[in-house]
Structure formats: C-alpha cells, structure tokens
Assembly symmetry: C2
Homo-oligomer: 436 residues x 2
C-alpha cells in the first residue's frame, strides 16, 4: 500500500532523528515535527522504499539523579493516572516498568511511542495524534504506591517513609479516586500532547496493570508569576525554589533510605474539591481572611508584597491580629515540601460518585444554599494538590493542623488521596526502579 | 479593610482600561493584565482611597453582524455548556440574555465579569481566577435550542430550520449530554480563562436557568496546519475558509429566515465517542481506508497532497477503487457546513452513564476484546463535533449516509446530540437576541 510505505518512511526518519537527539542528550525539548508545515496542493512524487524502522532505538532513558516533572518548570496541563498491578505482580511490575520507561523516553524526545506489544505487525507505531506537535515540555513521572513492595516481594527495599496517609477528620474520600499501586504523572504545555502520552502508556497496560483512576488539571499562563488557584488566590508563593539547597533538603530522599532510592522523593496527591459557588458569595474581606493574604497581589494581610514574610504578631486598627490565627497562612508555614498542584474544573461532566446531597450536608445556614445547575454538588472543581517531599509526614503535620482549625474547611473537601514513592531517575539503558 | 480597598482600586482601574479598549473597538484581544508582572519583595506604600468602581461600564457589546467564536480562528480549549430555562421562561430568558451579554462583553475584553445579582455588596466582582491572564482569544457564543421558542411565546419568530435532529440508526445517545434550551460555547487558548468564564456565566444562572450538561475539549497547537483528531487524522481539510463566499453561503442564515435572525446560523453539536483501543489495534492501511486519506499527510488515497481533491474514480494496482466507496471521504464531501470541532479525552473520570459492556456489544471478533482499565467502555475520548451551517439539514443528509455505510461506524458512537439556533451579533448597548 503506498500510504503505509509512506508512513513507514516517516517513522524511519523519526527514529533516525531520535538517535541524533538522544546523542545530544536532548530531553523533553526537541521540536521534532513529523509533518511538513505548509500544505501542498500538488501530488508528491512517490517515495522510494525506505529503510525499515529499527525495532528499538538505543536511547539514554531519562538520565540523571532525579525523574523529570518534579524540579521541572511547571507545565500548563496534566493528567494523573493510577494503575493497579494484575496477577503475577512481580513479573507484571518488571515488565510494565520496562515498557513504560521505553515509551516515556521516546515520547519525551517527541518520537512515536512505539508498538503495542502483541499488536499486529502492520499497525502504526503510535496513534499519530501528536504528529506535527512540539513535545511541549512533556514530562512523565512514575511512582510506586505503598502496596507495591509487598506485592512484588520487596518489603526489605521499601522506602523509609512510604506508608498510607493517616485519616484526617475532614476527609471526605471517595474510593473512586484514591490509592493505586502505580502512578503516572503526565505534564505538558499542550493538552493534546498529554492525551497522546496517556493513551500510549495505557496501550502498554493490558495483562499487566489496570487503570484505577485518572485526574486532569490545568494552570493558566501566568508568565512566570505565581499561578492562581480557583479561589483566585496566588498559590505556591512560599514554595522552595528548584535548584536551591532549601528545595533539595525539602524534596529529595534523605538519610536512612535504601540505597536504590537515592535521588527519589515522595508524592502526596489529594483531590481537593472547592465549594466555589459558596466561595463566590463570600465577602472579599472574608475570603482574604480565610487565606491570610490579599487576593489582589498575594501579600500577607500583615502588609508588604507577595514575598514578604507574614507577620503573625501584627495587629490591625481594631487590635485583632491582621492575619487571623485560623487562616491558612497562619496554620501552615515553612512546611518542608514542594507543591506542584494543578487546578481542575470538570463542570458537571465528571461526577461518578457524587457526595450525597440533601438535608444535613450543608455546613452552615447560608442563604444561597440552592444554586443553579444540579445543586452545588454537581459542580466538581478545585485543586489537584501535589506535594513532593522528603517525608510525607511534612504534609501530614500540616494537614492535621488544617483539619483542626482552618477557616478554609468551610469551602474545602478532600475527596481523593494517594501517596507514592517516586524512584530516582534512570541510568542510560536501564528502566525505572532498576535497582529495586 | 486595607485589602478590600486595594481590590477596589484594581477594579476601578480595570473599568477605566475597559473604557479605552471599548472605545478602540478591541474585542477579545486586549492584553489587559490585572497584576504587576515582577514579584515585589518589599511592602508597597498604602494606596489612597480610589474612586469607586462604576456600576456598569458603557460598552459596545459584541458588535457586528455575527457572534464571535464561529468565523474566529479556532482556539485551543473549549467548554460547551447547555442550560434549561426554569419556570417563568419568558422573563427568565430575557433576564439571562441580558446578564450573559453583559458578562460576555466584559470577559471578552479581559475585564472582571461583574457582580452576581443579589450577592452581598462586599463580595468581589469576579472570582479573580483570570487576574493576570491574557484574555487568550476568549470568545463566548450563545445558542437557542428548539424548545425555547415555544416556551417564551415566540413561535412565530422561530428560525426556519430549527427543529430537533432526526434519529439516526447508529445513534447511541445519552440523555445526560443531549439537548438543552440554551447553549454557551466558551473558547480560548488558555483552559483557566475558559474555566473562569464558565464560572462567571454559571454564577448568573440561579433562578433563571439550570445547567443541563457540559463538555470540555482541546486542540493541539498545530501552528496553523489542520489539527489532528484522536484518530490521528487531520480533521477539517475540506472546511470552507472563513471570509470566503463559500463560507458565507454555507454558514450564515439564508432566505426565508425571520428578519431578527439575519446574520445568525445553526450549530449541530454531537458528542462522538471513539473506540480508540480498538482503533489502535487496527492496521495502518485499514485505518487509512476507513477515512479515505493517508494519516501522515492527509492526502486522499487517490494521490496528491492534503488539499488535492479526492478522485473517487481512481483505481489501485489491484483494480479496486483507491478510495473505498464506504470510506468517510467517499461518503461525505462538499457538505455546506463549517466544522469547528474539538477533541476530548476524559480518560476514566467522566463516565456518568457508561454504555453497557458485555457479550453482544463487540462489533467484531477482534482478538483484543478485553483491554486494560475498566474495559474499553470506561475510556471516554473522541470528538466534540461542532458544525455551523445555514441549514442543519446539511448535517442530517451527511449523517444519514454515514449511518448507512461508513467504515468508521465500527469505531464511532454518537452519545450526545443537540442543535441550536445561533442568533446574530449584537448592536452596541443591546443584549443578544434583542430583536426576537
């Protein structure tokens, strides 16, 4: 078939391009384009039979001490997907790590993901959905849940701090989007690139892992400024900056960890649903006092600019603390973790297990209880909270304080929760977690 | 409160900026930013009391013969939301048109959306979620469903071609995402700008309209080339080009329409779910023959480039038609409509009413029937098909042909459907559909 010969030609040239990019160490940056930009109105001459594509390009993996997608400048779109190992977990684990590592390194270079194992030989080596797209800063980041180490017979290699998160008094968790054996975090500046990568990784799953949940988020293009969450507030002001000693100390695995985990970290993932209709009916002053910062510029209510340290001792003209003691900022400060969260807004399409509505659920006697649409509960929007930390206990301590007193609790429901150990980066030619 | 005074100051300056932009006729293009770009580490001096914000800026609406978001260069992210009128439909209709028109013109200028009617006076005039973001090409486009004209006592003004779509033999429609009295199409190059606009419009709804369904789509950044759908194929090659007589004849309301509808059009919306796991296990040649084009470059299988006219008489070396008679391209060509579709990929988060799985559902005896995840059916991805047309019958004719014979039917399920009359653009100072 002329068309399939032509496709093979393109693929062969991609593999060749990939080799060059790999030799240069390019990672998530090559602007390979698989198609010509200007539309041609006239027939191209038939191409000579090209060299067949190589079965597997020799590639360097995602080399380095750490996985990408953590210290990487945050991209605008993300999918998080959790998978569970199927029977024969140890073998399945090794096989999926190998497959995903290969797919990931190809995708991050902008190459097609490669064949689906067991698929017919004449099937394309990828969906083609991202042909002509820049990789758009794509990063793929993989994690291992607390149950994995038992399932694969590696309890002795369990990372020191990897255990299920404790229950918090304000949890409203749904099974549908909690837990998971393996996590994939897919981030890029183009949602179609994210979709392409998700599909490619999912295509490797049959017989090995089963998709458990997925979540999709975005961040506005704030041009390097601190992005705003759906409360309208700047979110991430007090984050440690990648590349600083503070960041390294907060994030990367520390003393006492098994040697294979050096360069790893932990990810705490929480689906945090916000009651935005209620928030929008709250006074500007009360909104700011819930956070402890001014929405406009992110400055603490004690004064200054966004990056001024909050002064919890400062008092207003009425003699009361400028920053309320139960505000978010007053309760959680200087937590040794790096937040890399996304906003989500599913409007009404994403409700698989709605929180029960009806009498008794409303937290207060607010006059605007019954909103448009299918009640408050049908509007599912909020934060996909992600925190990378040397020890998830940093998150737990903060969350316990918030659960006990945070003004924001009136607007916040944690409906999903998971924790993962994030293995270190890989050595050239080895899959993720090769030393486990 | 110092923080709320500061916010008012920002809002006042926004309103002033808006006036200038409006006077210049800027629409959906002004790069107004509500916050300073560089983070300031030091306290700013307290601001003097600013002028209070004007209650309502005098604005030109979205002037012009047509609504934006149709001939507009397609943006990368979209939310489609359908609402139903609540009791007292005529009054509700007039009020929501007025409110939405005001919100829309403010948002398309990059201004805050304004107050939620009936909200407390000290609430902010918007969620702040897009403060600091460019409007990102935001357009808001509104439509009226077939039931509206009866409900508001305007049967005599019903657009000539506005009636429910007929049933097609391949329909697998779900009530959950079909129909609707009013449609809002929100498009921008930034998903956070889209989310901000959706929330602002929704905030005006209480007591007037009720959210019925919403859908969210994306398009990769193909740099002006034809975008690819999730089949990997270029989609839109044969679209008429905005600004051409062909486009105008295909899209804008024609003879026999009521005078108030001059400059209007119709939108056919279909949620088209694609069986991507099955597609990915199909040979490259069969994929191309289903479409009638080469995935690589979009050229018809009869030869040439993307924009070469398909030659249905051309035969291959085997003496059979190069473009199969039951391919998508062979069945539907030169349809007088303008497609402005988006891809969607909800992974597994969006399933509220899954298509029944189990024996009897599979269309063929494919070996790879049981895929990873929660079966095929849990992966909800495909096309939010949107066609603007002078007469929706153009779509109906094409869809009848496809339903009868299309090779793609094995991969395609239409699970949502709606049709709307799209009123013309507005006159300065008047709401949408003012002449209805």
């Amino acid at each position: 078939m002329p068309e399939s010969i032509s496709r093979r030609g393109v693929i062969a040239s991609l593999v060749a391009t990939a080799g060059v990019a790999a030799a240069g160490g390019a990672l998530a940056a090559g602007a390979m384009k698989a198609e010509p930009a200007p539309p041609k109105a006239e027939p191209a001459p038939p191409k000579a039979e090209p060299a067949p594509p190589k079965a597997e390009a020799v590639t360097p993996g995602f080399p380095g001490a750490h996985q990408p997608g953590i210290a990487t400048a945050q991209q605008r779109y993300a999918t998080f997907a959790a998978f569970d190992l199927q029977g024969g977990e140890r073998t399945a684990f090794q096989e999926i790590m190998k497959r995903w590592s290969g797919v990931a390194e190809r995708l991050m270079r902008g190459d097609p993901p490669g064949a689906i194992p067991g698929n017919r030989a004449d099937a394309p080596a990828g969906s083609g959905v991202a042909d002509g797209l820049d990789p758009a800063g794509l990063t793929l980041t993989f994690g291992l849940g607390p149950e994995v180490f038992g399932l694969i017979g590696k309890e002795k290699s369990r990372p020191l701090h990897l255990r299920p998160l404790p229950a918090f008094s304000t949890d409203r968790l749904e099974e549908a989007w909690s837990g998971g054996h393996l996590l994939v975090q897919i981030c890029a500046d183009d949602a179609q690139v994210v979709s392409h990568a998700f599909r490619a990784l999912r295509g490797q799953a049959p017989g090995l892992v089963r998709l458990r949940w997925s979540q999709q988020g975005f961040l506005g293009s704030f041009g390097g400024g601190t992005p705003r969450n759906l409360l309208g507030q700047k979110d991430g002001t007090s984050n440690p900056r990648p590349g600083t000693p503070e960041f390294d100390a907060a994030v990367w695995a520390g003393d006492g960890e098994p040697s294979w985990f050096a360069g790893g970290t932990y990810l705490v993932f929480r689906k945090v649903r916000l009651d935005l209709p209620k928030w929008d009916l709250t006074s500007a002053a009360d909104q700011d006092r819930s956070i402890g910062r001014r929405r406009d510029d992110g400055a603490p209510l004690s004064g200054g600019g966004e990056f001024t340290a909050p002064d919890l001792a400062a008092k207003g003209p009425d003699g009361r603390p400028s920053i309320p003691a139960d505000s978010h900022v007053a309760l959680v400060r200087a937590i040794p973790m790096f937040r890399r969260s996304y906003n989500y807004d599913y409007a009404v399409q994403g409700i698989t297990a709605p929180i029960a509505a009806g009498p008794g659920r409303e937290d207060d006697g607010h006059l605007h209880e019954h909103h448009a649409g299918n009640s408050h509960d049908s509007y599912d929007a909020g934060v996909l909270f992600c925190a990378y930390a040397r020890d998830p206990e940093a998150f737990n301590r903060a969350q316990r304080k918030l659960a006990a007193a945070d003004r924001l609790n009136a607007f916040v429901k944690h409906t999903g929760s998971a924790v993962f150990a994030i293995p270190p980066g890989i050595r050239p030619g080895s899959p993720l977690a090769a030393d486990l």
